[in-house]
């Protein structure tokens, strides 16, 4: 009001205020300012309406984008949750061809194989010791055979001596002992053959004895196994398997926890998507603002029409100095660059202009050609075309 009073330049007119002419001049000046203000306000409403549409579109588009992104996130979370569930199931199983084994089954199998190996070693040791004892018995028998061979040799030696004595006696008997001498020779030859046979037997029995001794040693190497290594290996395998099972259980526990987190994330994101419905309410509120502006603008337009008709004032052709100051004041309040640019375009609309093309620069807003009729004024008609706002079918007509 102070600015309006100043713009009316009342002080300079005050001198004539006491007269009818003076009052008419003040009134005429006031009507002129009102019409100028109407023009500037019209451009302001027009520009604000465009901004509201851009903001509404930006909210809508951004909400849609966020919605799509969150839906994608929900989908990904579902897949992740399902994947983790699959990992949890697969973590404790090993596939071998057509067979699927659990870790516990593998451990049981390994223990059985290891125990079987140990039992085989034990069985081998028992058999080897049985053979050792059997060979010991053979050695005893061989020693007995050797002793018998010695007895044979001793007997043979005596036989040979007897044959030799018989030969001597036969020689001493002369012709009468010739036949007996032949027998003595045969007995000596027989003794010699027996001696050779005994010698051969001793050689063979010695070979058997050596073979038995060698077998005894071989069996010792078979039977005498220090199983400390197996003992340690069994302990180590058991420890490794226990660690593997424990690790697998921890792994499953963490995966299960992670899957639960994914499911929770999925629920949270679904909740977020539901809350995106605020966009509908925002749109309704902005529509309400535009409607109010439309009503106010229409009322001002009607009043301006009446003013022109009643006062006989000429339509405004160019911006007056006062109008330029008001426009400057509005533009200076715009700090956002792209918004300021649009305000410059909208607020600097010349009174005689009929059409202006406003192009928004907000990239998030889609193409549009809604051809919103803003000014239905005989002097100033503004039509916005080819801007980047989507179709507007809200039925709100400004000016």
């Amino acid at each position: 009001m102070m600015a309006l009073a100043s713009d009316l330049n009342i002080q300079s007119l005050a001198a004539g205020a006491g007269t009818v002419e003076g009052r008419e001049e003040i009134l005429s000046k006031a009507l002129e300012r009102w019409l100028e203000m109407h023009h500037v306000m019209g451009r302001g409403f027009f520009t604000l309406d465009r901004e509201i549409q851009i903001v509404a579109k930006l909210v809508e588009t951004s909400t849609d984008d966020l919605n799509a992104l969150f839906l994608q996130l929900v989908d990904n979370a579902q897949n992740q949750s399902a994947g983790m569930g699959e990992i949890v199931r697969a973590a404790s199983l090993v596939k071998l061809g057509d067979e699927t084994l659990s870790l516990q089954e593998i451990i049981t199998y390994l223990e059985e194989v290891f125990s079987e190996g140990i039992m085989n070693v034990l069985q081998l040791a028992q058999t080897a010791m049985s053979l050792v004892y059997a060979l010991d018995d053979v050695v005893v028998d061989v020693k007995e055979v050797v002793r018998h061979i010695g007895q044979i040799e001793q007997i043979n030696k005596q036989t040979n001596l007897l044959a030799l004595n018989a030969k001597i006696e036969a020689t001493r008997a002369g012709d009468a002992g010739k036949g007996f001498g032949v027998v003595a020779d045969e007995v000596r030859q027989l003794s010699k053959d027996i001696n050779e046979l005994a010698s051969t037997l001793r050689t063979r029995v010695d070979a058997v004895h050596n073979g038995v001794n060698e077998g005894h040693q071989q069996l010792q190497s078979i039977a005498s196994l220090d199983m400390s290594g197996n003992l340690k290996a069994k302990d180590r395998i058991e420890n490794m398997m226990t660690a593997l099972v424990t690790q697998n259980e921890e792994f499953q526990e963490k995966l299960t926890s992670s899957a639960e987190l994914s499911a929770q994330l999925q629920r949270d994101m679904s909740s977020v998507i539901m809350r995106f419905q605020f966009q509908d309410k925002t749109q309704q509120q902005l529509d309400g603002v535009r409607m109010t502006m439309s009503v106010l603008s229409g009322a001002a337009h009607d009043l301006a029409e009446e003013t022109y008709a009643g006062s006989g004032l000429e339509p405004i052709e160019d911006d007056s100095e006062v109008m330029e100051r008001w426009v400057d004041a509005v533009i200076k309040k715009c700090s956002l660059g792209e918004m300021r640019e649009r305000f410059v375009q909208g607020m600097l609309l010349k009174p005689g202009s009929t059409t202006v093309e406003l192009k928004t620069t907000i990239s998030a807003v889609g193409d549009a050609d809604d051809d919103i009729e803003m000014f239905d004024d005989t002097n100033t008609s503004v039509s916005v075309v080819n801007d980047t706002v989507d179709d507007d079918d809200d039925g709100i007509e400004l000016f």
């Binding site: 034990l122 081998l124 028992q126 058999t127 199983m227």
Partner: protein
């Protein structure tokens, strides 16, 4: 390896000392012979003082068990510690020859 046999009413107790390995097979066979000459219903090998047993020693235990089955008496082991106890457990003889 040394051993002492106590027979109380047909229940023999054999107390071993030293290691039971292959080199003791002759002594062990003598032990089996000594036992077979006694009239017993059971025999327990006390391994408390045994420090080492190898697979041959375990094989000899099994031969003793065969002899027990044949002669109808029961063989048990007791007192095994450390390495000996582990070997008996590894080969499951601790179960087979449990008292």
């Amino acid at each position: 390896m040394d051993y002492k046999i106590k027979n109380e009413g047909g229940k023999a107790q054999v107390v071993f000392t030293g290691d039971i390995t292959f080199s003791e097979n002759v002594s062990f066979r003598q032990l089996l012979k000594d036992i077979s000459e006694q009239k017993i219903t059971s025999c327990n090998f006390d391994l408390t003082a045994v420090d080492m047993v190898d697979s041959a020693g375990l094989g000899m235990f099994l031969i003793a068990r065969e002899q027990a089955d044949t002669a109808d008496w029961k063989l048990t082991v007791s007192g095994a510690q450390g390495h000996v106890a582990s070997m008996l457990k590894l080969t499951k003889l601790s179960d087979l020859l449990a008292g």
